[in-house]
Amino acid sequence: MKRILLLCFMFLTVFAFSALAQRTVSGTVTDDNGEGLPGVNVVIKGTTTGATTDLDGNYRLTVEDGATLIFSFVGFETQEIEVGARTVIDITMGGITELQEVVITGVGSATSKEKLSFVVEQIGEDMLQQTPGVSAVSGLAGKMAGVRVLNGSGAPGSEPNILIRGASNILRSNDPLIIIDGVLTEASLSDINGEDIKSIEVVKGAAAASLYGSRASNGVVNIQTRRGTDGKQGVTTVKVRSEFGKSFIPYKPNKTTSTNRVLNTQADVDADPSGATLLGYPSNQIKPDGIFDTPWPVVIDHFDQAFTTQDFFTQYVSIQNNSGNTAVFASAQFQKQEGIIILTDGSERTNLRLNIDHTLNEKLTFSASNLYSFSNVDLDGAVGSAVSTDPMFALWQLDPAADIFAPNEEDGTPYNWNANFFGLEVNPLYAINSVTNLEDRTRFLGNYTLSYSPLDWMDVEASFSIDKLNRNRNVFVDQGYLDTFSAGPNGPLGIVDYESFEIDSETLALNLNLYKQFGDLTAKFRAQFFYENRETLEIQAAGSNLAFKGKNTLENVDRTTITLNNNQTKITANNFSGILALDYRDTYLFDALVRRDGVSLFGDNERWQTFYRVSGGYRISQDFDLPGIQELKVRGSYGVAGGRPDFTDQYERIGLADGNSTGQFQTRNPNLKPSLNQELEVGFDVNFLDKFNFSFTYADAHNPDQIMQVPLSASTGFQQIVDNVATLDAKTFEMSLGASVFKNQDWDISANVVWDRTTMEITELNRAPFSVGPDNAFRIEAGQPFGLFYGEVLATSLSQVENQVAENQNVEDIFTINNHGFVVRKDQIGTDQEQVVYLRDDDGVLVLDVIGDITPDFNMGFNSTITWKNITLFMQWDWKQGGDVYNKTFQFGVRDNNVEFTDQALVPYAQRKSFTYINSIYNVNKVNSFFVEDGTFIKLRELALSYRLGSSALSKVGLDNAFKGIKVSAIGRNILTFTKYSGFDPEVGQANGSVGANIYRYDNFNYPNFATFTGSVEFTF
């Protein structure tokens, strides 16, 4: 298959190369002062063919008869000049204009923002490179209305989740399609570095996204990296950037310092010849009142011990050269992020990039983009393994006096594995230190595009892309591992586990672009064929009982203990699309698109699906001279995009393991369709008072045909079918305001504010309501908002418990409300039997009801850039108002009495609660209303102070020959969070099934997000 693809690509290449040149035009571009202007783009209208002026403003290119040249340069007014019979065209550029943003995502060809009839947001290099993100998209956080970036886990090497305009899928992924230099990415974004990024465009609505058909229900993020063609012709720019700093945890919750046990007396110590009984330490005996208010004799801050300040280091080099016909951008980045957990190495990543653009002749250009990334991640700090629990879980469970640095009495190795006195968990440092738990990833992204422009109104483009991931994981536990509690009987005998996962994805896009001017009407048409092929292969082998110590190989395990797992998937798709964009007098805008997707994931009877959009815009300010208003546009669009089923969804499935069928599971669904994202978007954009730009958008999304598992009657012998059975509606308001507040020779102050609010409701569900997600904490029910927490409810008013008293009793006589605001029995209040009461139905069955909602009231972002002479201060704030989090970490803490809430020594004596009370709140770990917390936060995500030395400043110190510029920055990331949330960080989530952490806002011992303070120095020469 790959061979056929390559052959086709080569075939096209050979034909395209045979195109012939025409005649040559040359000239000089100067500014108002007569100085030559280097770096001016000169493009033949209607084509992507062109040239860039050299250092003296000279250009040369070959054109057809009747061609028009477009001269453009940032900050100057674009000019169109008809060539006519001339061979020399000199022009003067003047009339400085505001920067005009051009977008390329979701449209047929590059289109200025003013001429868009739907929303495509864009962030440029200037904003992104203030604090180059650890990952490619972390820099988006708080910068675009309707776009949320969530770091559900802070673990080094983990990737953020993006959620655009709320959810469009109930039980399938809500992650947007991410495109990098034309490659539709298929795996983790954490392989992509931030420094190379030139711009990020985000397509939010179905209309704009419909170009990507059934991959686009969650929106599209399109990342462009820097290229040689961005630089001035004939100039080589080298950039060296070093950033070094420290990561640390900005906030640590308090743990308990008290016990409810009787302390050992000297008599107890004397009675135990083993020496295990320590004077003044808690004994096995619980105090008569059972209250946790006796201080431990020693209290160690384990968070303080385990979270340390570790290194963050980035070294980056890039070379950019534009030598006319060939332009090259190459970069290398090494990044080490150690994270914050002691003894863990975090992640190390090396990225190499090579982007090449070559103009073969004026009709034919070739461009290649390549990223090769390899990284190692130490998973010890982030996840558990075959023999150890999640280190965050274990860290919470430590008894206050546990000495986690003491050696093991068994063999003298460090970090006493059973350091706890009572807690059941094992010292996490022992596992981190003893267990190998590593991941290494290799990623290659490549895009190769050949553009051929045979006519000034037509061009043809072939683009071949590759995304390849190899990920290996290895867990190794040597002989003599001491932790028999979590490792089980085989742990001490050693374990070897290897897992390999591979993604192999290729796409081929063939585009035909037509461009024609009919008087005042400009028409653009694009037809596309898009082929996709994606395969995955997973193999895991593990065994135990090592023959020799220290040998981390499967050859060292007992053959009879080997287990094997294997999984393979393959997805193919053939997609066709056509776009027609019309613009009349630059004033009336119209755009229509149809896309037809044939995808192997759809059921046999529904294999071909249609997506489309229509959109229109009216630039009122073109027709009317509105005082104080430079630009006013109203726009509206309606579009349909789709969401694909998961690989296994359509199939009949009977499990297969160890050579046996393991039972009938799922029936075939030949009628399985993609979910749809039908969205109406209306809004307006206005630029006013020469300083401000404001956008408002309302999007009304209707998402029918939601894909989900539907249970079947047991009499069928199958458990489920996957079908299109629900509709999710979402309504979003978005506003953004940008301002160039003040600008003069020394000062430049600008600011942006973005705001959005999304509400979601499940309007249709053709199956019984159900609960889903981590701990089944989330409710799916028709007529209810999406994202509800569902669980048992602590009674807070007497009217809620009227059905829990006998008919001849008064509720006031039986129940009362305690000082926490919870209903308790009157005869138990103040006693060691006091406990909270849960709502019950009239049969006495515990009621499950809505107890929270993930959806925030609104999100807001604010950033400002203040430049004074050579000093720039940049800050980015991010505010999420409302939206609940279920704090499972806290619930476990209440179970084990290791959180501050259970520490009754902090409470006035009369208000102390017994462990009966505390455990009635814990509620056997069942989801309940007590642990739903408000997830509101305001974060200072980025803060950067930079000092830039330009060539004039450098000349004063005689360095202008060596450098073009030097930039020194102090950078802070995530350094401040304002929240009432009791855990480490309200920015938390957990993926479950196909649904990402951006939906399930569930705090379950996640690796905390951490702050970094770094300094960077950047040399350009």
Binding site: L424, I654, A714, G844
Partner: protein
């Protein structure tokens, strides 16, 4: 000429593109799972399917949800952890079962239902295909020649049908009776007694087929049984289902004990003990966490029974219930049942949280099968012991007016040899002998088939007041059928 060249170039390019467009079929096979067609299209695979179905049936009935909480409800094993709904079923006063799909431990009602029907329906499909003329012709006996083994596969299928229907009858108030002749479209629920009777019929058919066909088969993990052993096992199971299906003492008294006697007598004379496969399909949860001192203990209700009378007094080491406010009790005084020494381990204060009720506490963990977790789950797992069969015979003899001397001898097999308790002679009252039987079963087989103690207490009206007597049809099934949800449990709502 220039234009001709140009357009021919474009035409070639377009042709080139279109010739590349028939890239690949949009059919992508799922290599990871089987389909019915894979599984059933080739009759020669049916013997292997019957074999894996025995494993799937084991897995459906012996891992977490089917065993752990039921044993706690029966006060045989004790744990107050929330896992698998154990605390919910063990809490006193008893509450109604939470029969909703949203219940975090919905698996305790759902899992057996859906997993057992998965086995049953696949088995029915095989039998139907054989009836339709898909002959199973394989070299089953390994002599180099193929033979038609339709009836051997049928025998295995009937056994699976009987086991499946029997477990559904004992666990739920009603169920679908489905076999190879069922029209699923017109299917309704049948009450538990009818489901139990259908199970017995299937097992009787299996016995006939097994006895008529000579073979050996490794259908049970690690065991290579003869057709006679399979017939005996099916016969044993008839006794188990008839005895286990009564909801009350009155129903138990009215059960067909003559049939229990004949079928148990014709039953398997040794332990039914599949070999653990290391935790893949053939494994047992109660032999892992159920024997771990942190996770679980032998219920104090049983510990008390095994202690000498003086120990049972208030202030002694074995009062029942465990006294409130007491964190730990000392070991039992000598003179107790010998099995306290051989099968139990004194484990001191439990890690259970006292506010969940001291009645969950116990000082002893079950340790008779410690070899199982120590072996990485690869030793034999006794599931239907010879002792269980013997006690059905003994009980049937007593209830049918048979030889009480023989009954006493059968009881003494474990009572005297393992427990070191005084021998019974048969001269005792029926009640004394029956009490001795049920005590023996609590002491011997609570960790082999955990549900048996629940069913024993149920048919003796001996469950804690308010304990459900059977489970409702799971909410997930009721929701599919659009039937109103219902449940059992809580005082006055037991069935």
């Amino acid at each position: 000429m220039k234009y001709l060249l140009k357009y021919s170039l474009i035409a070639t390019l377009v042709f080139g593109v279109s010739s590349c467009s028939f890239f690949e079929e949009l059919e992508t096979p799922n290599k990871n799972d089987l389909e019915v067609a894979d599984v059933l299209s080739d009759p020669t695979t049916y013997p292997a399917l019957i074999s894996s179905s025995f494993g799937n049936f084991w897995n459906a009935t012996m891992v977490s949800f089917p065993t752990m909480p039921v044993s706690v409800a029966a006060q045989e094993m004790s744990m107050s952890w929330g896992n698998w709904g154990a605390r919910d079923l063990g809490t006193i006063p008893r509450l109604p079962l939470n029969n909703t799909q949203s219940y975090g431990n919905a698996g305790l009602i759902e899992d057996v239902w859906f997993n057992v029907y998965g086995v049953l329906v696949q088995t029915n499909n095989i039998l139907k295909l054989i009836d339709e003329g898909n002959d199973v012709i394989v070299d089953f006996d390994g002599d180099g020649n193929t033979e038609n083994i339709n009836d051997i596969v049928r025998a295995g299928g009937k056994l699976l049908q009987g086991l499946s229907l029997g477990h559904l009858a004992m666990r739920y108030d009603q169920a679908f009776i489905v076999d190879e002749n069922t029209d699923v479209a017109t299917l309704g629920f049948s009450p538990y007694d009818e489901v139990g009777a259908a199970a017995v019929t299937k097992l009787e058919e299996a016995v006939v087929l097994f006895n008529a066909n000579t073979f050996t088969a490794g259908w049970i993990n690690g065991l290579n049984w003869t057709n006679t052993q399979f017939a005996q096992f099916a016969s044993s199971y008839i006794a188990r289902i008839i005895a286990g299906n009564s909801r009350t003492a009155a129903e138990n008294a009215a059960a067909n004990w003559n049939k229990v006697l004949t079928t148990a007598n014709a039953g398997l004379p040794m332990d039914y003990a599949p070999i653990g496969d290391g935790g893949v399909v053939w494994w047992s949860r109660i032999l892992i966490q159920g024997q771990d001192a942190v996770w679980a203990r032998l219920s104090q209700r049983v510990v008390t029974e095994m202690a000498i009378p003086a120990d049972r007094a208030p202030g002694g080491p074995a009062p029942y219930p465990w006294p409130d406010g007491v964190a730990s009790l000392p070991p039992l005084t000598a003179g107790h049942d010998n099995r306290v020494t051989t099968d139990l381990t004194y484990s001191g204060a439990p890690s259970f949280s006292a506010d969940r009720g001291y009645y969950f506490f116990s000082s002893y963990r079950y340790s008779r099968y410690d070899a199982y977790p120590a072996s990485s789950f690869t030793t034999p797992m006794v599931n239907y012991s010879a002792m269980e069969r013997d006690t059905y015979i003994a009980e049937a003899l007593i209830r049918t007016g048979g030889s009480k001397t023989q009954a006493a001898t059968l009881i003494n097999n474990t009572r005297v040899t393992r427990g070191g308790l005084p021998a019974l002679t048969g001269a005792e009252s029926d009640q004394v002998l029956l009490d001795a039987i049920f005590y023996e079963r609590r002491a011997e087989i609570g960790w082999t088939w955990p549900s048996v103690i629940f069913y024993d207490r149920r048919r003796n009206d001996d469950l804690e007041t308010g304990t459900y007597k059977h489970m409702p049809v799971p909410a997930r099934e009721l929701n599919v059928l659009g039937v109103e949800l219902y449940t059992f449990g809580g005082e006055g709502m037991e069935m």
